[in-house]
Amino acid sequence: MIDTLRLTAKEANALLTGGELSSDELFAAYRAAIDERDPDLNCFLHVCDESPGAGIPIALKDVIGTKGIPTTAGSKILEGYLPVYDATVTERCQARGLRTIGKTNMDEFAMGSSTENSAFGPTRNPWDPSRVPGGSSGGSTAAVAAGLAPWALGSDTGGSVKQPAALCGVVGLRPTYGTVSRYGIIAFASSLDQVGPVTKTVADCAFLYSVIAGRDPCDTTTVDLPHPVEIPEAEDLRGLRVGVPRELNEAEGIEPGVTESVQAAIELCRELGAEVGECELPRSVEYGLPCYYLIAPSEASSNLARYDGVRFGLRVSPDGIRAMYEETRDEGFGDEPKRRIMLGTYALSAGYYEAYYGQAQKVRTVIRQEFAAALERFDVLVSPTSPTVAFPLGAKTENPLAMYLSDVLAIPPNMAGLPGLSIPCGLSEGLPVGLQLIGPQFSENVLFRAGHALEQALAFDVVPPRLA
């Protein structure tokens, strides 16, 4: 039997094209890995027994619509819901022969940073099952880390691909806003949501990005890529200007072990020929998180209004329309969506709009300008992806604010619509540390090039030792 733990997507594909394995055999190998390891990890909410296609498998976050395959966004309110159409990214994967192997666990409606907010139980970190995988795409990142899929798609609103990728020791990309279609993605915060690849290598990440990116007539906020995606090959960083934003690297709460690994990676950049310098993003880091927690819940409060029990999903149906709404939503939504719906409803209320949502939009412009200025001097900015390594289950569930701070470093570039790549750059206390690389809009090729060169030099072993 094939060992899926170490197999990259590129290698898996080579097995197929080389005729060593059939697509069905490969699919079966991953199914076997799921059967063996997923009962402990709970990466999947739904596993497919069969799936059309002649290529390699892919796992899709359960926020991605798959026609006829249950799609719940980790919520009870959509339990048993079968989409009647495929998301654009689903279609694009299928068009390339990729076979959906299952739908991965997530924080309900992508709201969370640990996957503990799933209505269907938390996912556990393959590096240490007593710890969280991060979130909200924790099911996708844990599945790739545990060899349950060669690659996966997640979605990133406020760090939901980058942060769990860091905590699970895999590669995750949050693409430039507008490069990947949101059509068929269950909306959380529309002006921030973006689907991104979760892979074992940067080259796989670049390839999967090339599959899903590009304008979609069904999503008018998408654009064509200004340049084709390049699969990275260069092993040095000569000519690259790497900026180290002080606030992103010295923020309160960053664990010393994380700083150590990231500092070593920055040193490595220099050794690989990059020109490294310091820069500042004072307002982005100070206001990024509060600004996010006004804009994202505001949009969410509106996006989640359609779960009303009228047309699909859960319906609790006592007397009267108002009671139906209230009880359906009370029973269907977990605490975190409720919290954010309330926050957002409040922030959009008459008399508060200007002070909250309106003000946050203005701050967002300031953040965009601050990043733009820094990115005039540098090609890439680097920082830890997450201030901490994977934390124990339950450690932050009682304190939403502590949980929110888990994304304090990942959120600022998202507010500016910028792409961010997280690659594993070392271990702290035996757990993976993620390095965040940020570039200007549409600079994915630069991020891939830098990430790939670092990845080669770092030679990080993506297989969790306990599974090896």
């Binding site: 998301a87 007539p217 008018t220 329309i321 409803t345 209320s349 008459a350």
Partner: protein
């Protein structure tokens, strides 16, 4: 004290695009319930709106016809509220950055033009249709259950808001009629009130004549006919005057107009002090109409109905000119040669009574018919008129056969009748002039109605008076 009404309108017009506003479902009435739906207009998880460009173009066209400024950048907003007819939980509408703003609509009148200010015209999507089963009054409260038909959900809808510049129920009715005709002529909507493709709400308040204060207003909703609008407004004006004269205060409320009912019923509304929590629609980019496109649309506008009324008024009286234009009959009037007033009367009255579509009538041929109207028997005229909408209608086919105007043909008939009725002839000659009608009738009977009554009259007099 004399009271002055202060009236403003909000008009909703369905655009007759082929497809809905944000999805590709077909529009149109009469399709089986929920057959014209898709994931987008049913608000399934993950769907996104794609704006109908035709609807945007048409709204710009309408805005130009209303004298509005076209915004260089317009934004769609979400209007959030829970109701079963609102599948997303928000309606995509426009809020503080609509497509069309600050217009002025010229309403011609007997005493001159009145400028009716247009606050804005914006584009939005319609809601679904709730059907409340059981319970009373077809309202959601007390209904046993509610069924929803989503065919209408997402139909493109333009909302036009006027300034409170109207001063009487009659003027408001005339404004609404002219606005409707303007919309129809732009080719962007059928504006059929019966089908609900045009509906309006009216705000009414009154104030002492000469004052410029704005007193508390009430809103009349769900009006779907011009006569109901006039009736409802008039009744509301009188009600408010009576309240003020009785020393009371008008309460701000929304009234549901029920035709024939003495007073409009206060509406138990889903909108009582609603906070719609507007937010810019993040799924859509702002609309930025290119200046060339707007200028081209402006150039293509043509003569607007209000200007046409003014032009036609120079050859007719105001009432006829306005009637022709607002009923969409002025085109035929202009195509038809002949005495202007006679043509206008035939087009406005007889042709309308015959139920003919004016666009199908050949003006040249109708002109011949109008010219002959007083010469030929009425039945013959009506018969010809009834056929005038046929593609191959020729007036002469009816006129040639219809009229015996030749004296040499009529004289023998007349003489025969006079000879057979010598008593009546004697009575006539003795002064009973009223008997002329009797003789005319006899001649018509004898000729099967084909005799030219003018000629018959003249000849009868001449023959009777001769001896």
């Amino acid at each position: 004290m004399t009271w002055e009404p202060v009236i403003g309108c909000e008009i909703h017009v369905h655009l007759k695009t082929q497809t809905k506003m944000f999805c590709r479902c077909a529009t149109g009435f009469g399709a089986p319930e929920n057959s014209s739906t898709c994931p987008v207009c049913l608000a399934h998880p993950g769907v996104l709106p794609v704006p109908n460009e035709r609807a945007i173009e048409w709204t710009i066209k309408l805005g130009l016809a209303l004298g509005c400024d076209i915004a260089p950048r317009a934004v769609f907003h979400r209007k959030n509220y829970f109701y079963p007819d609102n599948p997303k939980g928000y309606q995509i509408s426009q809020y503080d950055e609509p497509l069309c703003m600050s217009g002025s609509f010229l309403l011609p009148g007997v005493g001159g033009d009145t400028e009716i200010g247009i606050v804005r015209a914006h584009l939005e999507e319609d809601a679904a249709k709730n059907v409340h089963m059981g319970g009373g009054e077809g309202r959601i409260h007390g209904a046993d259950r509610t069924l929803v038909d989503f065919n209408r959900a997402g139909m493109p809808l333009v909302e036009i808001v006027t300034q409170p510049h109207l001063r009487s129920s009659e003027q408001t009715k005339r404004f609404l009629q002219l606005l409707r005709q303007t919309v129809r002529e732009l080719g962007i909507s059928d504006a059929e009130m019966q089908e609900g493709s045009m509906r309006f709400d009216v705000n009414v308040s009154v104030r002492p004549e000469g004052s410029d204060e704005l007193r508390t207003r009430t809103e009349l909703k769900n009006i779907n006919s011009f006569n109901f609008a006039a009736q409802g407004i008039e009744r509301e004006i009188q009600r408010q005057i009576a309240i003020y004269e009785g020393g009371g205060e008008v309460v701000q409320e929304t009234l549901h107009f029920v035709p024939g009912q003495e007073h409009a019923a206060p509406l138990r509304s889903k909108e009582e002090a609603q906070d719609y929590r507007y937010l810019p629609e993040p799924d859509l980019v702002p609309i930025e109409p290119p200046a060339e496109m707007v200028e081209q649309a402006r150039a293509e506008l043509g003569e607007l109905p209000s200007a046409r009324i003014r032009r036609l008024e120079t050859e007719l009286d105001f009432g006829l000119a306005e009637g022709l234009v607002t009923s969409g009959r002025d085109g035929l009037y202009e195509r038809t040669p002949g005495d202007r007033r006679a043509v206008a009367n035939v087009v406005m009255n007889e042709l309308a009574a015959a139920g003919l579509d004016p666009t199908e009538v050949n003006g040249e041929e109708l002109g011949k018919l109008v010219e002959a109207r007083d010469r030929i028997p009425r039945e013959a005229f009506m018969k010809a008129l009834g056929a005038s909408g046929d593609g191959d209608f020729k007036a002469e086919d009816y006129l040639g056969e219809a009229v015996i105007a030749d004296e040499s043909e009529l004289d023998p008939v007349i003489e025969r009748i006079l000879a057979a009725n010598d008593e009546n002839v004697a009575a006539y000659r003795a002064g009973k002039q009223g008997l002329l009608g009797f003789f005319v009738g006899q001649v018509m009977k004898e000729t099967g109605g084909k005799a030219d009554p003018k000629v018959v009259n003249t000849r009868l007099r001449e023959l009777l008076d001769r001896s």
